[in-house]
């Protein structure tokens, strides 16, 4: 098992405050929401880096059907680690309906105990609940049930990073779901595309009751490749990992 201090990330990959932010987001119990970018869910792969390098296992609850194991393989190669090591440490379950996701959320604490991990990544939340084939009241009911479970996770010492894609078509239900999720979160970050790369901005909107986190970081993640290339289901696309660097903005 790797200890945080001995993680072999090349010095150029992450810089001070940003590294601390990634570290913090993935290491302390909480329910952190990352949203605002149309491809937030796909970008979630970058957040696997820190726990994997710490030698931890991660549960990946994929409601956006975006998990790409080839990225882990490329990442492992860049870190000169056997790909199998990273591949075995990430446990994935895909949910294709909101009912499946709600069930999965309910089963996750037991799965976390079974796989001896406390790190959980969720994608496509709450997007999967905004389903045109489902009555909004039903979607809200199922979401409330899932949220009830999610809120308990920090007390069970679980760290959950929830990735929510910016909607292509805003809907009242989608707005309601996002608001409800933010209100239950311990922190909400907006993933923004800037001319220099991607930027994580902590959101403190008036409608969300957010806990003040002790790190007041505005971090930007510069990426030499175009963000669109992140989405390519291609091992080569994982090359972005090497150029993923973060700098602080104050």
């Amino acid at each position: 098992m790797l200890s945080p201090r001995s993680e072999p990330v090349p010095a150029s990959a992450f810089t001070g405050p940003a590294r601390r932010l990634l570290w913090t987001l993935t290491s302390r119990p909480g329910l952190v929401v990352v949203s605002g970018h149309p491809e937030s869910s796909r970008l979630s792969h970058y957040f696997l880096a820190a726990p994997l390098l710490r030698g931890e296992a991660v549960l990946f609850l994929d409601a956006a059907n975006c998990f790409n194991p080839y990225r882990l393989v490329a990442f492992a190669n860049q870190c000169r680690r056997p790909p199998r090591e990273f591949l075995e440490r990430v446990r994935v379950s895909r949910a294709f309906t909101c009912f499946q996701l709600a069930e999965l959320v309910e089963r996750t604490p037991a799965a976390a105990r079974r796989f001896r991990t406390r790190r959980i990544v969720l994608t496509g939340v709450p997007d999967i609940f905004d389903d045109e084939e489902l009555a909004p009241t039903e979607a809200k009911n199922v979401f409330r049930r899932a949220l009830e479970q999610l809120r308990r996770w920090p007390q069970q010492k679980l760290t959950a990073l929830v990735f929510s894609d910016a909607p292509s078509r805003p809907s009242p239900l989608g707005e309601w779901l996002r608001r409800a999720l933010a209100q239950s979160a311990t922190a909400v970050y907006r993933l923004e595309e800037t001319p220099t790369g991607l930027c994580l901005v902590e959101k403190q909107p008036s409608w969300a009751t957010l806990r003040k986190s002790d790190h007041k970081l505005l971090a930007s993640a510069s990426c030499h490749s175009e963000p669109r290339t992140f989405g390519a289901k291609n091992p080569a696309a994982a090359g972005c990992f090497t150029s993923f660097s973060m700098t602080s903005k104050r």
């Binding site: 591949l87 075995e88 440490r89 446990r91 994935v92 379950s93 309906t97 009912f99 084939e133």
Partner: protein
């Protein structure tokens, strides 16, 4: 309510009686599962509020196969069914509901064992006049079997409505007089006086009293417009047999399916009479009315519904029926998630079928061997079903590569449904081979084709998010079996001295010098024994040409070839314009003519000789184009809109044509197909590049150079390997 054709009593307008029967014995039920004390708390309120019959019963849970005690709620008043379900769900959201969202007509059919177009005997009582409230059904006995291949259909009267001329989309501008046909009698009704038109239609409907109204564009255009005109003119238009109801209209919508946008047109359905729109029915488009009747009988779905839904819904209906017969509880919401697996396991399991890219070029004496209904056969043979994969009883790993277990103790629901469909299709294929009468051959072919579509979708549905009995692990298991079987087939073929030229999921093309048809048939039997799956020799090709990618001639691509079968002039083509829906008919016709010529060749030498004649065919088509002798109908290109016309960023031909239509007031939605002709592809003025068919006039001209280019490109595959010496084995 049932509508029946009384075959026993000669009377009424068309010599047979149509009777409306009401079966008040039908009490649809749903089930409530969960903590028994919590369910018990519900019952007093439930009984007080609604007219329900409550019983504690034992039913089987789908995933575990365990029998459990649940509350059966029989709803006495049909119109309250959804309301009662909603009430229970609201009062006790933690309790599980089962069998609560099955459509009531289908549920009636499952419970009574009856199906559309079945021959039945009835005992009835009550009024005996169609204009009076319906007769009451006292008893019903089905004297028919949905699994028989030799059934007699009821004597149906079919009335056809279509606009005169080509059946082009009237929403995009096509207009014509209304043609009404019953058997061989055709009447053309001019639209000048709507009152007269409506009166004539009403008279014809009363006079002929059709059972089926078969239309082109009836769903979204003809029927809604006629009904609106009747309303405006305050004239009756008895589209429905049942005067108590108005025609039912459902709105159009666009949605994403398998990565592409699909447009589902609106629908207009009738009561007491069946309306089928040929232009809005996949099943009728693919398999004609015979295929629709076959599917409706097997799936127990009403004809109008089956005509407009997918075959996936059909197979689901059969699964629901089977589950109901076996006392299996049908979950309301699909909740069972994928089991956690490592990213490494996902890498192994989340894969499709196996493909060996083709060896490019001209090959002689090639055999094609196809697994018959490979994926459904795997389900049936290896018991692959959502509830049998990684079953809770812990049966050993049986799925190759990915090591999933398959239950050995109980037969899965999906295999139970699929196996008889495979068997019935095989029977139809045998009958097709034996039948000499062209009408009988067409009938059997339509029916076997309809069953093919049921089987095709039953695999895809296992991985479909909304499929009732879908589960991704079952989908992955089938793919794993498929890959394994194809690999075994390749190895066995190579050990027997055959050379593998190409293989794609469930078909393989092999070659051996001087091998006879018997040798290939022997190989098929060897493969069948080795894989434990049915495999058939599709045919032996005199020659086959595997073609490269259009963009790069050194890159092989699967499923792009043409070949001529030995012993006949039959040809098989994949991936060429002649098979594509968007190719102009002129180009497709040129390829057809050329292929007919080339089918006469038997080896590389004779092929080269025929190619000279084929070049002359191309020259003839080119000449027609240059001289402007081609009708615009032969130049039409059909394309699907991937977005709303105004959202196209580039002035592509399809964007230009769509925007021109929209400028004329035509509302277009993503997924709709539009038709256009290229007028000046390189024009600096985008609007001049293409013109939608509806806006063509006598002054429109086509882009000769562009169409010449399309013709030449379409000819390239035939001459590709003959600029130099052909590659032969």
């Amino acid at each position: 309510m049932l509508w029946v054709i009384d075959a026993g009593q000669p009377a009424c307008p068309a010599g047979r009686r149509r009777r409306r029967l009401v079966d008040s014995s039908f009490v649809p039920s749903f089930y409530v599962g969960g903590a028994l004390d919590r369910i018990a708390q519900l019952t007093p309120d439930l009984s007080a509020r609604f007219s329900v019959r409550l019983d504690w019963v034992e039913r089987q849970e789908l995933w575990s196969g365990d029998w459990q005690t649940v509350l059966q709620v029989g709803v006495q008043r049909l119109e309250q069914f959804a309301q009662v379900v909603h009430w229970v769900h609201q009062r006790a959201p933690r309790l599980e509901l089962f069998n609560c969202d099955i459509s009531l007509p289908a549920l009636y059919a499952y419970e009574k064992g009856v199906f559309p177009l079945a021959r039945c005997s009835f005992e009835v009582e009550g009024p005996d006049r169609p204009e009076q409230p319906a007769e009451r059904l006292r008893a019903l006995a089905v004297e028919d079997d949905p699994w028989t291949t030799r059934y007699e259909l009821p004597p149906l009267t079919v009335m056809e409505w279509r606009l005169e001329g080509d059946s082009r989309n009237p929403h995009h501008g096509h207009r014509g007089a209304l043609e009404v046909r019953v058997e061989d009698r055709v009447e053309t009704l001019a639209e000048e006086d709507p009152g007269e038109l409506l009166a004539t239609l009403a008279r014809r409907l009363r006079q002929d009293d059709p059972d089926i109204l078969l239309t082109d564009w009836g769903d979204s255009f003809l029927l809604p417009r006629l009904l609106k005109a009747a309303e405006r003119a305050r004239l009756p238009l008895p589209l429905n047999r049942d005067p108590a109801y108005a025609a039912h209209h459902k709105r159009a919508r666009s949605y994403f399916s398998y990565g592409r946008i699909v447009f589902k047109d609106s629908s207009t359905t009738l009561f007491g009479r069946v309306h089928i729109d040929r232009k809005n029915s996949f099943v009728v488009g693919e398999t004609d009315l015979e295929g629709l009747f076959e599917l409706s009988r097997l799936t127990k779905l009403p004809l109008q519904y089956m005509a407009r839904t997918s075959t996936g819904t059909g197979i689901t209906s059969m699964q629901l029926d089977r589950a109901l017969q076996q006392g299996i509880l049908i979950p309301w919401q699909k909740r069972e998630p994928e089991e956690f697996k490592s990213a490494r396991q996902l890498l192994l399991s989340d894969r499709g079928g196996l493909v060996f890219k083709p060896i490019l070029g001209f090959h002689e004496n090639v055999g094609e061997l196809d697994f018959a209904s490979m994926f459904p056969s795997i389900m049936a043979r290896f018991n692959v079903s959502p509830e049998t994969i990684n079953c809770r009883c812990g049966c050993p790993a049986r799925v190759p590569e990915i090591g999933y277990g398959i239950c050995q103790r109980r037969r899965g629901l999906v295999p139970q449904v699929v196996a008889p469909v495979i068997e019935k299709r095989a029977r139809y294929k045998r009958l097709l081979g034996e039948a000499a009468d062209p009408a009988a051959r067409a009938r059997y072919d339509d029916r076997q084709n309809a069953l093919k579509w049921l089987l095709v979708t039953c695999f895809g549905y296992l991985g479909y998010k909304n499929a009732r009995f879908g589960r991704i692990e079952a989908h992955e298991a089938i793919n794993a079996f498929g890959r394994e079987k194809l690999l075994v087939a390749k190895e066995v073929s190579e050990r027997a001295g055959f050379r593998l030229l190409h293989a794609i999921v469930d078909s393989l093309w092999v070659q051996k010098r001087d091998a006879t048809r018997e040798d290939y048939e022997h190989l098929a039997r060897m493969l069948e024994a080795a894989t434990d799956l049915p495999i058939a020799l599709e045919g032996v090709y005199k020659y086959i040409v595997f073609l490269p990618s259009r963009r790069n001639r050194s890159v092989p691509v699967p499923n792009r070839y043409f070949g001529a079968f030995a012993g006949s002039h039959k040809i098989k083509v994949r991936g060429l314009e002649v098979r594509r829906h968007d190719a102009p008919p002129l180009v497709a016709r040129m390829q057809e003519e050329v292929l007919q010529l080339l089918a006469e060749a038997h080896d590389a030498g004779s092929y080269r000789g025929k190619l000279a004649e084929a070049v002359a065919v191309l020259a003839r088509f080119e000449e027609q184009l240059r001289e402007g002798r081609v009708a615009w109908e032969d130049l039409v290109i059909r394309k699907r809109l991937t977005q709303e016309p105004q959202k196209y960023q580039k002035n592509s031909l399809v964007a230009v044509a769509a925007q021109a239509l929209e400028a004329c007031g035509v509302k277009l939605r993503p997924g709709e197909v539009i038709e256009y002709v290229i007028t000046a592809a390189d024009s600096l003025v985008p609007a001049e590049r293409a013109r939608p068919v509806a806006l063509l006039n006598g002054f429109s001209s086509y882009d000769r150079e562009k169409y010449l280019e399309l013709l030449r490109k379409a000819f390239e595959p035939f001459s590709l390997y003959f600029a130099q010496a052909p590659t032969t084995y």
